[in-house]
């Protein structure tokens, strides 16, 4: 622990200067030779911002040039996503894409789709869980599903994010997989997962479909329980929560994901340097510790895999949005 406390001391001294503790790179590639801007379409302090900042710090260590995170917010992510797509394709402006890029265009809010980027690597995926109040009478997700099927349309209420947000689509997808229309359970829009979890604890909702890490504090506090997670495998941070497939035989998975990408037509050398660098960052102990500490899901895909992932996500999210009546008829 002497190593950490020494760095802690150094860091404190440098707090005001915000001096990066960058290790010089051994070999100097042709890219990057100057600082790289990493655009974050969401505000400072949020989850995407936190993940991007740790990636940037580790890339800086890996490639020897500063990677500066710039929060380009506005328009519910539209502005920042568009800025990444329209940046100079010189490799000095990259950014983080989030699931919203496969949703916004279906709502008719932007022309930009996943095709307008050069994917570089998928870095994280958080599957939604199904959480109920701890005093709810459902022993497992099957019991909840039975109750949902028996209820009048609109009688049960669920929440987790705003109208048309990723967790709303998760609900629509789950209901769809059970053969129910998306409107069978009424969605109560909320300003993010935290207020929804509070309302769940206060007894105002039947269940929430936000991600498990977002529900974590309430789970730890014994106010809520998570019945299932909508992913192919159990989460490493929450091994006690069964998957939907295990619990009720429904093979449905989705999630909110984050990945690094750049504008179209990035030079080959940028792709060749960045791809392996992101792989190394993902496999580093620091990255894994950070994501595990916050409960974020670890999922990596290389450039080509990220491209395929986005293509699939775009299709399935589009279907869910049409089913929920959220996509713009075009």
């Amino acid at each position: 622990m002497t190593e950490t406390s020494r760095r802690a001391l150094l860091g404190t001294g440098a707090a005001l200067l915000a001096a990066p503790l960058a290790a010089p790179a051994l070999a100097q590639p042709r890219w990057p030779t100057r600082p790289v801007q990493m655009l974050c379409p969401w505000a400072a302090g949020g989850g995407t911002d936190a993940v991007l900042r740790i990636i940037a710090a580790l890339l800086e260590k890996e490639l020897g040039q500063p990677f500066n995170v710039v929060n380009r917010t506005g328009g519910s992510g539209v502005v920042g996503h568009a800025a990444i797509a329209s940046a100079q394709p010189d490799g000095y402006t990259l950014g983080m894409l989030t699931s919203e890029i496969c949703m916004l265009h279906w709502q008719g809010l932007t022309e930009v789709t996943y095709r307008n980027y050069t994917p570089l690597g998928l870095m994280n995926l958080d599957p939604p869980g199904i959480q109920v109040n701890v005093s709810a009478p459902y022993a497992d997700v099957k019991a909840l599903a039975e109750a949902v099927k028996k209820s009048r349309p609109g009688q049960m209420k669920a929440s987790g994010t705003g109208q048309g947000g990723i967790w709303h689509l998760a609900l629509a997808g789950w209901l769809g997989a059970m053969g129910l229309p998306a409107s069978h359970v009424r969605w109560v829009p909320s300003n993010g997962a935290a207020p929804a979890m509070q309302d769940l604890a206060a007894g105002g909702l039947d269940f929430t479909t936000c991600s498990v890490p977002e529900a974590r504090a309430m789970l730890d506090a014994g106010r809520a329980k998570s019945l299932a997670v909508m992913s192919p495998e159990r989460l490493s941070a929450f091994p006690n929560i069964p998957t939907l497939k295990e619990a009720m035989g429904i093979d449905y998975s989705t999630g909110a994901w984050r990945g690094i990408a750049g504008p179209p037509n990035l030079p080959a050398e940028v792709r060749n340097v960045m791809g392996p660098a992101l792989g190394k960052v993902f496999n580093s102990q620091e990255y894994k510790d950070f994501l595990n500490a916050r409960g974020f899901g670890l999922l990596y895909a290389d450039a080509a895999g990220f491209g395929r992932h986005m293509e699939e996500a775009d299709k399935s999210l589009g279907e869910a949005m049409k089913a929920a009546g959220l996509a713009k008829a075009a």
Partner: protein, 153 residues
């Protein structure tokens, strides 16, 4: 820009009507009985009511009397638009000229309009942009554009 209550009240009525009309045209949302239209329409109606009351002159008695203004030539009031023009200049020029030059121009013009001598305005326009750049760029890591002239740090 001292307008009579009739004018400002009228503007509020028009704005409220526009808000209510614009709100009423918003589409309903499946699964929500009270759609996105309700709130703007409510506010629009409130604005219309307030606008009418103000235009008619109800509640005027509460206001504090303002000191009479000294007479000025007609263009004097336009000086109030200088700050807006300078901000617009920043929006349009900062990407190409860079922060330091844009800010210097803003400070120089602003100070001169406010009646500063060149002896004060010039050093201010040279020093302050550099100081602000140092504080925001280095300490707060705000990505201020470099443009034509990038500071030595």
């Amino acid at each position: 820009m001292q307008l009579s209550d009739r004018v400002t009240g009228g503007v509020l009525v028009l704005l409220g009507a526009a808000a209510a009309w614009g709100g009423s045209r918003l589409p309903a949302v499946p699964g929500q009985e009270v759609g996105p239209a309700a709130f703007p329409m409510l506010i629009g109606c409130g604005l219309i009511l307030c606008g009418v009351l103000i235009a008619v002159g109800i509640g005027r008695s509460f206001e504090a009397e303002e000191a009479p203004e000294t007479p000025h030539p007609w263009w004097y009031g336009l000086r109030a638009l200088v700050p807006f023009a300078l901000l617009l200049f920043y929006v349009l020029a900062s990407e190409t000229l860079g922060f330091v030059l844009t800010a210097a121009a803003m400070i120089l013009v602003g100070a001169l309009v406010l009646g500063a001598r060149l002896r004060l305005a010039l050093p201010l326009a040279v020093l302050m942009p550099l100081l602000i750049h140092l504080a925001f760029y280095k300490l707060l890591r705000v990505p201020l554009p470099d443009g034509l002239l990038s500071p030595p740090w």
